[in-house]
Amino acid sequence: MEALDSAVELTAVTKHYAHGVTALDNVSVGFGRGTFTAVMGPSGSGKSTLLQCAAGLDKPTSGRIMVDGRDLTQLTERKLTLLRRDRVGFVFQSFNLLPSLTAEQNVALPLKLAGRRVDRELVRQSLDAVGLAERAGHRPAELSGGQQQRVAIARALVARPAVLFGDEPTGALDTNTSRDVLRLLRSLVDRHAQTIVMVTHDPAAAAYADRVLFLADGRICGQLLDPTAEAVSGRMLMLEESC
């Protein structure tokens, strides 16, 4: 029942790394369409691995991962790339814009890679959606951190992905800029029913999500619906003490 509604669905996903480290231990979780989920946990809890596996950047040792109705673990490398290109968006802590391309060119990059005719209007819309329409011609070095991250979000959204993954998207930003970026993410969920999965360690950031998922030692050890920053902080403290 839940699987049908989920943009991303993990079933019994386990990930072992070399040297016997278990990053994910039999994790099953779904991310519903149009929901905003924050994944939290102490360092080494496996939250980044969860994100990378869910996004098809890393292959799990066992288990099944469905994204937009397709099983990632059954796809060839090429098909996986094409799926990522069309159905998955990424935002990183370090923005990861190509420094030599303008904001507009950066946003158009996924379309170019897909070999599509670049629809300038679509690119403008994406930039407009993140409030940067007037800075389209600027290069990353000429933009502030928050603006760069918003360009990265515009780039992630330009292909209209089924899910947007964020790996500490506000990790490199100050409090005010963080708030702007998080509000932007929130509004994407509310207005465009965008599915967002975001790894963070900041309770204030997590509070923007619909649901917070807590991870420890590669296992899900709880969740919080309609979180507040205080409640998240409390749960995190408990988690860290129990570890």
């Binding site: 980044s48 990378q52 950047l57 890393d58 490398e77 090429r78 790339t81 094409l82 990522r84 290109r85 069309d86 990424f90 990183f92 802590q93 370090s94 990861n96 190509l98 420094p99 030599s100 391309l101 060119q105 990059l109 996924p110 170019k112 890679l113 897909a114 780039r155 292909a159 790996d167």
Partner: protein
């Protein structure tokens, strides 16, 4: 994808310029060397000299012709018969030219060592005009070209001995002694050529450029051309090798620098194939542009390189620079192929870059030492070792040859270069031990940085490996080969003194008789001549032989034989090298220098270190001049008396006597300096290119690390500390390159040594330390400068 590549270009300009330069210079180097090579091959011969003013020349067609089942084979005869008097009588207007060695005795005017005697009427053929005095009229009068003045009384040495003459005239032109026609005919009855001013009928005639066949410098010219061709050929071979080596490592490095960019493209949806295509496309663009530029510019360097070679005496000055286009075309094709091949591995690697890498902050290097690299490196390395062992065991003589030594050396360098990443970490750790005694942050940072970025370290150490390794191995090999040659040459000589001629006349008959008259010594002479053999029943080969007096030979030379004995050498027998592939006791069908067929029984097989290829008796020498007289003191003889007797005998005969030791060191020096010069040419070209690529790759590496230096500065490092840090790292990289080079040099020289020992007995492994030290110092200076300069600018 290409336009993405194009857009991203501006951020990695240094790396782009670096690869472009490496390739353009490589292409230019190949094109230039190719052009010089083409010049040595197809430069036209010099215009006729001796018969410049004579339209028609009749010369005897003197070749040994032998019918084989594959058709007729022929070789020019070493011993010429000349034209018959009957033929000469048919052309009354012709000049009867005779050309024979003749020299004015030194001390009474200096004529070139290769002066020839000719009849006065032949002075018209060049022409050589009188600048002073008059033509010779009597048998005792001569005209010389330079070196003596009218009225001088001189001794002239010919094969038969010396005779007094009066100089009555001086001409211009090449070193010549003109006698009256009658006197010339007495001294050299053989008619060498007829010079004619009207076309003769019924006889083959040389006209136009063909007349150059009779020029005195013809053999010398051919030799000079061959020498230049060999040197340039070797240099061109190395140029291609180094270009391949440097270009592929530079391209691979440039791609490795961009892992994060590729990871990023992969996360935004670039497929592996797209990344690969982008790398190929970009490399293709650089390859075509840079190769074209290099291939077009390269030939312009051919002129200066040629001039340089001429200045060093390694190439004849009369070469006319070639206008061939094949060197440029070859350089272009080779460079493009090399660049694309060099990038193919890198492109596959780039395609495999994991998208998750974009998420990581620090660029963590993947395993540099892939199985493929390990396999190819170990393969090349083993191939070099195996061919070295095979050579040393089966063909020690051949192993010392440049043709087999240099490819092995190249294999070794390539193998070690590929295996370099394996040793970077251990060597860095080893070298870190002395570093850790230093105070300060450099002690921990420097080896750590080198060990973390194995790829960068290996790539930067590569040019150092090439420069130092090749310098040490080539110079060391040259020194060892020379030492072995000198040892081989000196070992069999029992004589105490040698008498050597100073010109082409050789030791004249009078002189030899005077030497024989000296009391209390054994004298034996050798005269180099030729024998012709038919090898494999098809190939007629002219082989060098020494005509000796077997009765006396044993006392002055101890010639090593593997089978048989030189004691049985007589007019019906021959001693030959094993390379002739004749059996002991076999009756060999041979042709002598004058073309006469003879059957000689093989009585001895010479060892590889014998001083000559074969020995016959003087009965087969014909007119071959004696070139060496060996003098051995009898027991109880007074060395002082013999020495003064030798001095007296050689006086006025343009010959000199020297002790065995003096002879050994003199010949060693002369040969050593010639071959060392050739090597220096090869090395000079290698070093120039590797120096550029070293700077190039260091600048590329430095551009990568602006951020690292900036964060060091933020951590509170002073500018001086940052500079010391980058300088220390450059030094460490050079040190690693030197360690690798030492391995290459040690292995190659060890292999060579094991071959040489078999030929020449114990010799020392010698490394020319000053030269190698200079190369290392050069690498250090360049590396430190190239590392510090960007740090100073941006620190």
């Amino acid at each position: 994808m290409l336009n993405i590549a194009w857009h991203t270009l501006r951020t990695r300009l240094v790396s782009f310029v670096g690869t472009f330069l490496a390739l353009a210079l490589g292409a230019a180097l190949i094109a230039a060397m190719g052009q010089v090579l083409a010049t040595t091959v197809d430069s036209p011969d010099r215009a006729p000299q001796r018969y410049a003013a004579t339209p028609y020349v009749v010369v005897p067609d003197e070749r040994l012709r032998v019918e084989t089942w594959q058709g007729e084979q022929s070789r020019p005869l070493a011993e010429r018969h000349g034209l018959t008097a009957e033929l000469a009588a048919r052309f009354p207007g012709a000049v009867l030219d005779r050309i024979f060695p003749a020299q004015v005795a030194s001390g009474q005017g200096k004529l070139g060592g290769d002066a020839v005697g000719r009849p006065w009427s032949a002075s018209r053929t060049a022409p050589q005009r009188l600048v002073e005095g008059r033509a010779p009229r009597t048998a005792r009068e001569i005209v010389v070209s330079t070196g003596a003045r009218v009225g001088d009384k001189v001794s002239v040495i010919t094969r038969s001995g010396t005779k007094p003459y009066t100089v009555v005239g001086v001409t211009d032109g090449p070193p010549t002694v003109f006698f009256t026609d009658d006197q010339a005919a007495r001294l050299s009855p053989r008619i060498d050529a007829l010079a004619l001013w009207t076309r003769p009928s019924g006889v083959p005639v040389l006209t136009g450029q063909e007349r150059a066949l009779m020029d005195p410098n013809r053999e010398g010219d051919e030799r000079a051309r061959d020498n230049a061709n060999t040197i340039v050929g070797i240099a061109a071979g190395f140029a291609v090798f180094i270009a391949v080596f440097v270009v592929s490592s530079t391209f691979a490095f440039a791609v490795a620098q961009r892992r994060r960019e590729f990871a990023l493209l992969r996360t935004v949806g670039a497929t592996r194939r797209q990344v690969r295509r982008m790398v190929y496309g970009e490399a293709g663009f650089v390859a075509v542009a840079a190769s074209a530029l290099g291939a077009l510019a390269g030939p312009y360097a051919a002129g200066p390189i040629l001039d340089w070679l001429v200045g060093l005496g390694m190439a004849p000055a009369w070469l006319v620079p070639s206008r061939q286009t094949w060197p440029a075309v070859t350089a272009f094709v080779v460079s493009v192929v090399v660049a694309l091949a060099g990038v193919s591995v890198a492109a596959r690697r780039a395609g495999r870059v994991h998208p998750a890498e974009a998420m990581r902050e620090a660029a963590i290097e993947p395993r540099v030492m892939t199985w493929g690299r390990l396999l190819v490196g170990a393969g090349l390395f083993t191939a070099a070792l195996i061919s070295m062992v095979v050579n040393a065991v089966s063909d020690p003589q051949g192993a010392t040859n440049n043709k087999s030594f240099m490819p092995i050396l190249m294999l070794l360098v390539a193998g070690v270069g590929l295996l370099a990443p394996v040793v970077v970490r251990p060597v860095a750790r080893l070298l870190a031990v002395p570093l850790s005694r230093l105070r300060g942050v450099g002690a921990t940072l420097v080896p750590a940085a080198a060990a973390t970025s194995v790829r960068r370290t290996a790539a930067t150490a590569a040019p150092v490996l090439v420069a130092v390794g090749l310098a040490a191995a080539l110079l060391g090999a040259a020194a060892m080969t020379e030492a072995a040659k000198t040892a081989t040459q000196a070992a069999p000589v029992r004589a105490d003194y040698l008498v050597l001629p100073e010109g082409s006349v050789g030791l004249d008959r009078q002189l030899v008789e005077r030497l024989r008259a000296i009391r209390d010594v054994e004298i034996a002479t050798t005269a180099p001549t030729s024998m012709y053999t038919l090898e494999g029943k098809t190939a007629l080969i002219q082989r060098p032989t020494e005509a000796v007096d077997p009765a006396r030979l044993g006392s002055v030379l101890d010639i090593p034989v593997t089978k048989g004995s030189l004691a049985q050498l007589n007019d019906r027998t021959i001693a030959v090298s094993e390379t002739w592939e004749l059996e002991l006791g076999e009756s060999a069908k041979l042709w002598r220098a004058d073309g006469s067929e003879i059957s000689l029984k093989v009585v001895a097989l010479l060892a590889p270190n014998a001083p000559s290829d074969s020995y016959v008796t003087t009965a087969h020498a014909f007119s071959a001049p004696v070139t060496t007289a060996y003098v051995k003191l009898r027991p109880g003889a007074s060395a002082r008396e013999v020495e003064s007797a030798l001095r007296r005998s050689t006086q006025g005969h343009n010959a000199r006597a020297l002790t065995k030791d003096a002879w050994v060191s003199e010949t060693g020096d002369r040969r050593g300096s010639a071959s060392r010069l050739g090597l220096l040419v090869v090395l000079g070209i290698i070093l120039a290119y590797t120096a550029i690529s070293l700077v190039n790759i260091l600048l590329m590496a430095a551009s990568d690390r602006t951020a690292e230096r900036a964060s060091l500065r933020l951590l509170g490092a002073t500018r001086a500390q940052v500079v010391r840090y980058v300088a220390g790292e450059a030094l460490l990289v050079v040190a690693i390159g030197v360690v690798l080079a030492a391995a290459v040099a040690a292995i190659s020289l060890g292999g060579l040594w094991s071959s040489l020992v078999q030929i020449a007995g114990p010799i020392a492994i010698s490394v020319p330390w000053p030269a190698v030290g200079a190369v290392i110092a050069g690498c250090v200076a360049l590396a430190v400068a190239a590392a510090v300069a960007p740090a100073l600018r941006r620190a």
